[in-house]
């Protein structure tokens, strides 16, 4: 049985697609057969971040409308044999997504023996976002340390508890909070909400804190999921997040302002 995980946030630009790409890649590199689906119909992005935009032939909507089968549309990742990407359509609009269609695609992937199916949700609370979360077993809620992002995440948490198949059956989705673009220095100076404040407002178990890092933008632009970059703090934090998701106990890192060592203080750094 596949485990279906939605990566969602409500607000746009907080790092859902970056997270989906890193998450799916991390799971695949740990040996799990993983599919990642871009639900942002009309604003295709995931393929760019995964670096497979030139290999898109068929997309999610083609599969839903029966113009292609799932095997034709899945793009195998260059870096891992376990990872497959189902891109969104850039030309169709979101009305082409139907609940029955989404259910069928998820069923096909389950029958195909996928361990994890990651659903990269679009921003907002409209159709695309609603369908991305509908069949999920788990939700990763991506939040920036900023009041409007936290408010939107709260709204999404409400929808996860009321509008999903699990909720309709009286069960509940497992919720995981992932804070991204966290800058301890700006928290210390009071510009940014602290992790504790976000947890206080949202009251959801924390699964990871990804520090603000230039390597995220660099990774996106070069089409390499940031988790591949073992040097960067963001890459390491994403790796911790994946391990926690798989049940390991990993302490949180990158929460404190980095102290400059004696060497750096003497010679600058």
């Amino acid at each position: 049985m596949s485990r279906i995980v939605v990566v969602t946030s409500g607000k746009g630009g907080v790092g859902k697609t970056t997270t989906s790409a890193a998450f799916a890649t991390g799971l695949a590199l740990k040996g799990y057969k993983t599919a990642v689906i871009d639900f942002d119909v009309g604003l295709r992005n995931l393929d760019l971040i995964m670096g497979c935009e030139r290999r898109v032939v068929y997309d999610f909507i083609n599969v839903i409308s029966g113009e292609a089968n799932i095997k034709q549309a899945l793009i195998k990742d260059k870096r891992s044999d376990n990872l497959f990407i189902l891109p969104a359509s850039q030309t169709r609009d979101k009305d082409a997504l139907t609940q029955e269609g989404v259910e069928q695609v998820l069923k096909d992937l389950t029958d195909d023996g996928f361990d994890f199916i990651i659903c990269d949700s679009p921003a907002g609370i409209e159709r695309g976002a609603a369908l991305a979360m509908h069949f999920a077993d788990d939700a990763v809620i991506v939040t920036n340390p900023e009041v409007s992002s936290v408010r939107d995440s709260d709204r999404i948490l409400g929808l996860l508890q009321s509008r999903t198949r699990k909720a309709e059956r009286g069960e509940s989705i497992r919720e995981h909070l992932l804070i991204t673009r966290y800058s301890p220095a700006r928290v210390a100076s009071g510009d940014m909400l602290a992790m504790e404040d976000i947890l206080e407002i949202l009251a959801v178990p924390l699964i990871g804190v990804i520090p603000e890092s230039g390597s995220v933008l660099q990774a996106s632009n070069s089409g390499v999921p940031v988790i591949i970059d073992k040097e960067s703090t963001a890459g390491q934090a994403y790796d911790d997040f994946v391990r926690r998701f798989l049940g390991e106990t990993v302490p949180h890192r990158f929460l404190e302002v980095e102290k400059k060592g004696l060497f750096k203080r003497l010679f600058g750094g």
């Binding site: 408010r151 709260d154 409400g158 929808l159 508890q161 009251a203």
Partner: protein, 235 residues
Amino acid sequence: MKKQVFDLKGEMSLLTVLVLHSTDRHAISASLEEKQQQASQFLARSPIIIDCQLLGESGLELNFAELKMSLGKVGFVPVGLRNLVEAAEPSAIEAGWALLRPSKQQVSQNPPPPTEVNLELEQPSSVQRLLVLDRPVRSGQQVYCPHGDIVVLQHTSAGSELLAGGSVHVYGALRGRVLAGVQGDTQARIFCERLEAELIAIAGRYRLLDDIESNLKGQAVMIYLDQEKLKIVPI
């Protein structure tokens, strides 16, 4: 000197709003009767507003006298019509309907418009006296217990709304809007472990937390109605 026999006041009350999708009188009375069978006590004697916005020009085709009758038959007390196309207004008035101003035209000093309650959401088979929620009430969620108390074992979020016919208890931070005694019960009270609400109301008397003495914010408090005034006291 003449003794004053009444006060005339503008007040906020919670009303059920029926949003008409069709002017077909048979279809309307049929669905009303169906609703009544599902939730007769819920509807009993509740005042109701009819919203005609979705009808547009076709509002002219409504038979207003008959609409009033079918509502009365299932136990509603019709209060008035709103968002009715202008050309249909004379016949509505003739049938004895009040016309309500569309909510958006209300000036800001006026009380907020009545909260709309979606009939689809609430179909209790018997009157619910108590609603206990063991999860946080999130932004955008509305919880309505028309004839009982609401108890929340967690916090409520900014942008959420609790509406209770009776009292409200929140064992955590209260951050959203909270309206107790929405059917007019002036004995209803609000209790919370940490007061951070945006708006509090009991039996239609409301206050924004902005106006409230800041030393009570973040405190465990009880809110009750003393004559006409909302009183907030630490507990």
